[in-house]
């Protein structure tokens, strides 16, 4: 049985842990706000760009651009977005489990799958396991900005344009609400232009400068970059949300533990006092 001093020490140690988790929760909450603001700020650009692509795609022969080309999907690439750091609950576990499912599914269809990873957690996961072809890895990106995302996007576009992969998919965490994240699967390449064009300008004929093919050719890679950027922002916001929830429940667990140990401590102290009294009383009796 633990002595009183041991219990006391344990309580102090849990209290310290609780302070840390509490601080981490607050940091995550602040970062979450910033990340969410960025997700919202990035929306107009990607929406407008999609409208322009829809407008252009209707006018250019489909197979004319390599990023629109539909090939028999024999070699598939999966880009998985994970975090660099842990302590965010089931965030990485969830996304990696889903990623593995997707890979298995593609492999069952006889496709060759290559995995590209963003984030240290994903890298470690796929490195430790056999049966996966791990391609390029990006980690320790810190706060996401457009340039970092564009780097990732450019690499993927180059590989696709060179014919190394026939389809590219994206697995990442989407923000449903602060408390809720959803793992989603998105097709990144070939680009599928939306069929519903911008209702404002759909019917009119445009003047193009230099010409529609050139503009489409330069805008499509940008579009992929923007998609990656958006997904990275979403997944960063999700990470912060997951971290906040995880740290909140850790803080609450610590509180429960402290309560339990305090109760135990008090009980034991009582028992010790009672024992001492009865010893004294017993001693006094014996002297009579």
């Amino acid at each position: 049985m633990a002595s009183l001093r041991d219990i006391k020490r344990k309580i102090t140690s849990i209290k310290k842990t609780q302070q840390i988790t509490k601080a981490m929760k607050m940091v995550a909450a602040a970062k979450l706000r910033r990340a969410q603001d960025r997700v919202i700020a990035a929306r107009p650009y990607s929406r407008k760009m999609l409208a322009v692509i829809a407008n252009l795609a209707g006018r250019v022969e489909r197979a004319q651009h390599p990023l629109l080309a539909k090939r028999e999907p024999k070699r598939v690439k999966l880009l998985v977005l994970t975090s660099d750091r842990g302590l965010c609950g089931a965030y990485n576990t969830n996304i990696l489990r889903k990623a593995v499912e997707t890979v298995k599914q593609f492999q069952a269809q006889g496709k060759e799958v290559k995995v590209n990873v963003v984030g240290r957690k994903g890298r470690d996961f796929f490195r430790k396991r056999s049966g996966y072809t791990l391609g390029k890895v990006w980690s320790d990106l810190g706060m996401i900005d457009y340039e970092k995302a564009a780097d990732v996007g450019k690499n993927i576009v180059e590989r696709f344009a060179a014919g190394e992969t026939d389809e590219v998919y994206l697995r990442y965490n989407e923000v449903k609400s602060v408390m809720q994240q959803k793992v989603t699967l998105e097709k990144l390449l070939p680009v599928e232009p939306p069929t519903e064009a911008d209702p404002f300008m759909a019917a009119v004929d445009y003047l193009y400068e230099p010409n529609p093919e050139v503009i489409l050719g330069s805008i499509l890679p940008k579009h992929v970059e923007v998609q990656v950027y958006r997904a990275m922002l979403e997944s960063q916001a999700s990470e912060m949300g997951a971290k906040m929830t995880a740290m909140d429940s850790a803080t609450r667990n610590a509180k429960d533990m402290i309560e339990r140990y305090t109760l135990k401590y008090n009980k034991q102290r009582q028992a010790a006092i009672t024992k001492e009294i009865s010893e004294i009383v017993g001693g006094a009796e014996a002297l009579k």
Binding site: R38, A41, A42, P44, Y45, S46, R47, K48, M49, A51, V52, N55, L56, D145, Y146, D198, P199, F200, M201, V204, D205, Y206, L207, Y208, E209, P210, P212, V214, I215, S218, I219, K222, V226, Y229
Partner: protein, 150 residues
Amino acid sequence: MSAEDWKKNMVAEKGKMLLEIVAPSRQVVRSERVDEVIAPGSEGEFGVLPGHTPYLTALKVGMLSYREAAEWHHLAVDWGYAEVGPERVVILAEGADRAADIDIAEARQAKERAEKALSEKLEQADYEKNRIELLRAMIRIQVAEKHGQK
């Protein structure tokens, strides 16, 4: 956003144009009462007045100006696309900064960095990257000096 909402959202004041300038990380400008836009198209600078024919072009790095009544505003933009319609102009720019927001000292440093890098022997890709950096910095300095905070 449904088509209906979109339409409601996209209307300019009568006789004016709606101008939207968006960069990947944020919306830079949104104004419903623009009278004139001058932008650096890839094939040369162009001006837009209300009632312009639908026009879609690539942009190069340069200065973009727009006028609300008698008031001119200036921005430095880095590449992108312009979609022009009779009542609206949408600019998708890789980077866009209002003249007043440009940090001249920072731009000068960027210029020096790029110049220094260019004076050394470089691989093709690095050369391109630094050449673009240099162009960007020069335009930013120009715009800021001419129209930025005095």
